[in-house]
Symmetry: C2
């Protein structure tokens, strides 16, 4: 078992062997590793060492090298591949399943990926090109087109013989059954084959009522089905119900991780395909638009403050406390928003049962507002000796936390109902709202009750 | 296949049949559903209807009812179970695998769970109690203790016979091989059994080098191993390498989802076990401490503003623009923080390769600062006619976005190195820092260059 410590030992040895140029020993060590561990080693090495190690391994054991590259993920994997000439990439790409090859080739620079496809064997590149014709993030894009299928006219004995002569098909646990025109008609589990006599017709023991995914189905929906029915694999069919591929649970796990990353990122205004080591220029281009929108909304909130400059010039303490009202509203809104957005993503929450969620969040908002408003009021009074200022601060906080809670619930649910990703747009809306309401309620109350407030100076 | 639309149709029928009291038809409909679909129906019904439907189904088909409850997840599932008397819960709990029963019982109110354990058959409750003795979030807690194991002295033929007489063992794909004292010594895939003659000794075809998890291993580590090696199941052993259970990939998917939820929540200051329909009182108690810490840090930032009240009283425009500097720093820091925290969670980032990440983020921070600072400077100059104010605003934004980027990288990596969850503590630290630095740089620069600024009034 590759505990983190073991990988570190391997990594240290790799670095040492690279340094002293002990190529034979290095190759020996690399070939003993699991592709997932090699991927970890690759990602921990500096660029130069990673490329040297990969090129060494690729010459000797192309399949293992490519499996490791595949485990790196399409972005990092393609970046490493792109350091090699197109001829070599084309040769290496044929070592791994077409779906993995397609994902890598799709992430190569455009001219390089075209060159690679040209250089691959026509049959292989045809399969990859077919996969790339499906839209991104659909079942067709992530499926393995080499699916092991049996004819419905076979007996169990024939099926076992067929299985024995196809030893290199990956991860077979369900055997899909098709009719003479390749329509998916049933499924038999491997285990079932062991429990009946060889002459039994497959038709008799297959389950005809099976769950499949259309090739154009969103990968998130595929993942949801596989996860909720605890499947190990799901067959993929075209619009005529012809079997075109299979998606295994390990691919589904990758989808679940990616979708979770996307949700986390969107809440923070980061694009779903950015990673820790995305080049700085690309990250900058991806993050700037969202920050630009935020800057515009920040000026909007600032214009609310500007309305009350007259009040602030007389009571500067207002400038001291106003960020607290806005900031605490933003924090409370982020909590609500996160719970609601995640509830939608996990399928627990919809527009249908939103009333219950709204009532709950409103109560939590008022509760938080009362407790924190009281504390803030006492602190303001203690530090400033102005009871009215404390009361206004407390009241503004209660109002703003109520606004935060209701908006934090309604905005994502409303976006969802309008078919917009709730995580994408919510946080900008919500924090703008809490800033505007925070400044307005606090400075507005202060303006109304100005004559009771202690003047500065 | 249960598309969302189909579930809605089922849900509508359930509501209608409940309303007209057509119990027989309702039971008929419910019994045709997959447990995962039933769970969805349960969660979409109002409390009263959910309890009525569950109790109806539990009387007729306890296993299906409990499988659906299990699919609801431990919190919501236990809440639904808790509406039934202890005797009934004890009977129902015996219908599902012990690991699922343990998860539900663990989430019942304390006195109820004790009563249920007392009322279960001694053998069953013993297994559940054993599971509950493992720490939360460990392999032991989520494993299924009913693992199908074969003796190393068997032949392939005997193994197949053994398998045939254990038809109800769930999800068998790997057959674990143990010695006479139950030590785990190897694994054979189901498929392998089909490919060799019945008299072959298991010992000859088993793989002795297999990946296992210690019962006290963190569930996140288990999930990482299963996901990176693309396993369908992992055997769980005790400290003497004796086989004590198995964790299947469907449990791993639940762990991955839960851990992603925890990460998303922690970044927003929400506790990992809160859900959209956690009762308001409980949510309030869970969210208040984090908001309390935020309030304290907000007052800290406010005290920085208070240092400059003299400046603000002369130039009130500063109060208008200062939230922009602090807020944009906070937004940029959140982006960096999210990418870094997720990079750590996905295993792409460690203290070892942090230098590269730091340089990248610093460059992105300065880049964002220059672009946005320039825009802000122009807008401030255009609306206020004060070029120096614009320059100060732009400069403060560049400084604060640089601080945001470096702190957003170093704080989570530092916390990780100190074995503190980086997601948990980072956001409070970071936004306090960007508030303090934002106010300080902007108001500080304004104070230094005050004589060049246009006075208010």
């Amino acid at each position: 078992m590759a505990a983190p410590r073991r990988i570190e030992l391997v990594l240290d040895s790799v670095k040492r062997l690279l340094r002293i140029g002990a190529t034979a020993n290095l190759l020996n060590l690399l070939q003993k590793q699991h592709p997932a561990d090699l991927a970890q080693v690759f990602s921990d090495l500096v660029d130069k060492d990673r490329e040297a190690t990969f090129s060494l391994l690729a010459d000797r054991n192309g399949r293992l090298a490519m499996e490791a590259v595949s485990e790196l993920g399409p972005e990092a994997g393609a970046a490493l591949l792109a350091t090699r000439p197109a001829e070599e990439i084309a040769k290496l790409a044929q070592e791994i399943p077409s779906d993995d090859a397609a994902a890598l080739i799709d992430h190569l620079p455009e001219d390089l990926s075209a060159a690679v496809l040209d250089l691959m064997r026509p049959k292989e590149s045809g399969v990859v090109e077919n996969l790339l014709e499906y839209d991104e993030q659909t079942a067709g894009r992530i499926m393995n087109p080499h699916v092991f299928a049996l004819s419905e006219d076979m007996t169990v004995g024939e099926a076992i013989t067929e299985l024995q002569s196809n030893r290199d098909v990956e991860m077979v646990f369900y055997l899909y059954v098709v009719d003479e025109r390749n329509h998916l008609v049933g499924v038999v589990s491997l285990r079932r084959l062991l429990l009946v006599s060889p002459e039994t017709p497959l038709k008799r023991i297959m389950t005809a009522d099976l769950t499949s995914a259309r090739a154009d189905m969103d990968q998130e929906e595929v993942a949801r089905i596989v996860a909720s029915y605890n499947l190990l694999a799901i067959p993929v069919v075209d619009e005529e119900n012809k079997l075109v591929g299979v998606i295994t649970v390990d691919d589904v796990i990758d989808v679940i991780k990616d979708e979770a990353t996307e949700d986390i990122y969107r809440l923070a205004g980061v694009s779903g395909d950015e990673r820790a080591f995305t080049p700085a220029g690309e990250s900058l281009r991806k993050r700037l638009p969202w920050l630009g929108v935020n800057l515009a909304t920040a000026f909007m909130a600032a214009s609310v403050v500007a309305l009350f400059e007259g009040t602030i010039s007389q009571i500067t303490a207002l400038a001291v406390f106003m960020p607290i009202v806005a900031g605490m509203g933003g924090n409370a809104a982020t909590q609500t928003l996160t719970v609601i957005v995640r509830g939608i993503a996990l399928g627990e929450l919809s527009w249908g049962n939103s009333r219950k969620a709204l009532i709950k969040e409103a109560m939590v908002g008022i509760g938080n507002g009362v407790v924190l408003g009281l504390v803030a009021a006492v602190v303001a009074y203690a530090t400033r000796g102005d009871a009215v200022l404390g009361l206004i601060l407390g009241a503004a906080m209660i109002i703003n936390m109520f606004v935060a809670a209701t908006a934090g619930t309604l905005v994502p649910l409303g976006l969802r109902a309008a078919n917009i990703d709730p995580a994408l747009a919510s946080s900008v809306f919500i924090t703008t709202l809490t800033d505007v309401f925070g400044f307005f309620s606090f400075l507005g109350l202060a303006t109304v009750f100005m004559k009771y407030l202690v003047r500065a100076g």
